[in-house]
């Protein structure tokens, strides 16, 4: 289809269609494609869907697991969204979550014999934020001062983070006598209590606080305003006196800190030790969450719930249907990114035409 044959641009979509209907259409498209894949495998898609829903919300325990997964997705989704608002595409959530977890774990390993829980846990959370932010600060600095593209540098830093963690876990932090690369178990002061008989823990409160905090910061502070301005129109922002470099650093450090909180949920909440690959996949899934949630904290929270339900429901479903592995969830994430990110212009004209037909 050549550009000249496109229909003339219709009226822009009303807000409700843009933020509610369009994401739903996108996810519906993704689900249709997944349904086709499931059918090709030879499983009844409706049976798979029913098992998925039951697995996600069928019992208090499964709801607990859904919320636990959603906590991770909320952190990485917010991380991607904050960077998006500043016009930066942070693909490095994976590495920032990994290194954030490292900071969290190191703080606990250093202080869990000394500090009481009410002091230790805030210190560990702060360390997660600090390490995550530091890991994002390097690509941010390279973009702001040296002009290297943040997409490439954050990708590269994911691999550097992975190599660094393997080295540290295998050679330095491994518990004496342990065969697998894991640290010693955290002291009881650093273990967040589990809720609802599942992996859900108090980190979800932190996630909710982050959603509210990001909303207040982006739309009700002058720094947040400056951050959104550099995303919309860097030239205008600089003209208005915004320091582009400083705002790039701020946006990426905030983004990295939010991603780093995955370490809090995973290590303090569930694993109670430092180990390899605890963050696997959440950083990339954050892109899907942010795109789905239209980069708004409320949208991110809802999208995180959806993805959490998919993660939990997908795991349960793969127990009942061995032909479908839980990686089907990864397929859904990829399709959501494709449809709501790269192909976001695909259903828009249909929707515009549909709405224009009404009086």
């Amino acid at each position: 289809m050549s550009a000249s044959r496109r229909p003339p641009p219709a009226r822009p979509l009303p807000l409700w269609a843009d933020v509610i209907v369009l994401p739903l259409v996108n996810i519906a498209l993704a689900f249709i494609v997944v349904g086709i894949i499931v059918a090709i495998i030879g499983v009844d898609p409706l049976r798979a869907l029913r098992l998925l829903v039951v697995g996600a919300v069928g019992s208090p325990q499964s709801i607990g697991y859904t919320l636990y997964y959603a906590t991770n997705f909320a952190f990485t989704g917010l991380a991607v969204a904050v960077a998006f608002h500043a016009g930066l595409f942070n693909i490095g959530g994976e590495g920032q979550a990994y290194i954030g977890g490292l900071g969290c774990g190191l703080a606990v390993l250093a202080f869990d014999g000394v500090l009481p829980a009410w002091l230790l846990i805030p210190v560990a959370i702060a360390a997660a934020a600090l390490f995550g932010a530091a890991w994002a600060a390097v690509p941010a600095w390279l973009q702001a001062w040296r002009g290297s593209h943040i997409v490439i540098t954050t990708i590269m830093f994911n691999f550097v983070a992975s190599a660094l963690m393997v080295y540290l876990m295998v050679n330095v932090l491994i518990a004496p006598g342990s065969m697998t690369p894991q640290s010693r178990t955290f002291g009881p002061a650093a273990q967040l209590p589990a809720l609802m008989g599942s992996a859900l823990n108090l980190s979800i409160v932190l996630a909710l606080a982050c959603c509210v905090g990001v909303w207040i910061f982006l739309w009700h502070t002058s720094w947040g305003y400056a951050l959104r301005t550099i995303g919309h129109n860097p030239a205008a922002a600089v003209y208005a006196g915004t320091n582009l470099r400083r705002m790039t650093m701020l946006a990426m450090c905030l983004s990295g800190a939010l991603a780093g909180f995955v370490g809090v949920n995973e290590l303090l909440g569930v694993q109670h030790r430092l180990l390899l690959d605890f963050q696997a996949g959440y950083g990339f899934a954050g892109i899907a969450v942010a795109l789905m949630g239209r980069n708004h904290p409320l949208g991110v929270a809802l999208a995180a719930l959806l993805f959490g339900a998919l993660q939990q429901g997908g795991a349960e479903m793969s127990f009942d249907i061995p032909e479908i592995t839980r990686e089907m969830v990864v397929v859904i994430q990829g399709l959501v990114i494709l449809f709501s990110g790269a192909l976001e212009h695909l259903p828009r004209p249909w929707l515009q035409a549909l709405l224009a037909r009404r009086p």
């Binding site: 894949i37 997409v151 080295y167 050679n171 990864v330 397929v331 990114i337 494709l338």
Partner: protein, 306 residues
């Protein structure tokens, strides 16, 4: 052959073996990037190609059917990328990331459904693989030679043909190409398809020539190392080839050095050598070693004026 010569030969062969998928991917990525389309989806294309090549070779018993299937699978992703980025002017990085994630999930899901071995394909027999041609110990299968040939071919296509001239123009200033009456869309689609072809060969090489079957996530970041090689070669075929060889050598050395103590330094962490391609590329991008300048219009969707 005495020991030293034999070691040098084996290191050289190991370097080439490891570098071949990087070379294919880097040349493919070059076509795409020269035309103005960023391709962070090389990894995903390579992964689906590796899976479908191994799955087809194991089902039909023919390695050539495997290569054909691998290339076809990579082309499907390439067309999707083109459809999103060229036809619908979507974000090229987002599309690439989506395809990578899709490939990572889909290969495991389909592999598990079809072969029920935890996402792997059954190990391939010698008759189902592309075997070494001249030196059994070196692993010099036919795709390795094709990979070497792809470099001068890419250079010739880009630097010496009318298609190459237009390709470079469309990556620098699509408006001028459009004004000359040449279709930007068709040029870019051809570039993306060439990229799919080469990434498909890279994936097929991994699973049915170098390896003997598909295992989950077997590309392990090589698509991104190829991307790094393109940047390192400053978007030129021969320097990019050199970067691939350097990264291949690093990998071959890392395997050799595992657990070895180097006199005077002690044990070199293998992970450091594995991270070196990424670190070096970041240094380069930061302008500490020369300057890498991308094609001007890369990443910008072309909107025809009306």
């Amino acid at each position: 052959m005495d020991d030293a010569a034999s070691l040098v030969f084996l290191m050289f062969a190991a370097t080439l073996r490891v570098a071949t998928p990087l070379v294919f991917c880097a040349m493919g990525g070059l076509f795409s990037e020269k035309s103005g389309i960023i391709d962070v989806g090389l990894e995903g294309k390579m992964l689906v190609a590796a899976f479908f090549a191994a799955a087809t070779a194991s089902t039909t018993g023919s390695p050539w059917a495997g290569v054909a299937a691998g290339v076809a699978a990579a082309e499907v992703l390439a067309l999707l990328h083109g459809f999103a980025c060229i036809t619908h002017r979507g974000n090229q990085v987002v599309s690439g990331v989506a395809l990578n994630i899709l490939a990572a999930g889909l290969t495991v899901v389909l592999g598990n459904a079809w072969f029920a071995q935890g996402g792997q394909t059954p190990p391939l027999l010698a008759s189902e693989r592309l075997m070494p041609l001249f030196f059994p110990r070196a692993g010099d299968n036919i795709l390795l030679y094709v990979g070497l040939l792809s470099v001068p071919l890419t250079w010739w296509l880009i630097a010496r043909t009318r298609f190459g001239l237009r390709l470079r123009a469309v990556g620098e200033m699509p408006l001028a190409v459009d004004a000359a009456g040449i279709s930007v869309t068709w040029l870019r689609y051809r570039a993306v398809l060439l990229c799919g072809l080469l990434a498909g060969l890279a994936g097929s090489y991994l699973s049915i020539a170098q390896g003997a079957g598909f295992s989950r996530d077997m590309t392990a970041g090589q698509g991104f190392i190829a991307l790094a090689a393109i940047i390192f070669g400053k978007w030129r075929p021969f320097p990019a080839f050199g970067a691939c060889l350097m990264f291949g050598l690093l990998d071959a050395v890392a395997i050799r050095l595992q657990g070895l103590k180097v006199p005077g330094i002690g044990e070199v962490p293998v992970q450091l050598i594995q991270a070196l391609p990424y670190l070096l590329t970041m240094f380069l991008l930061a302008g500490f070693i020369g300057r890498a300048v991308a094609p001007k219009a890369v990443g910008v969707p072309y909107e025809k004026e009306r």
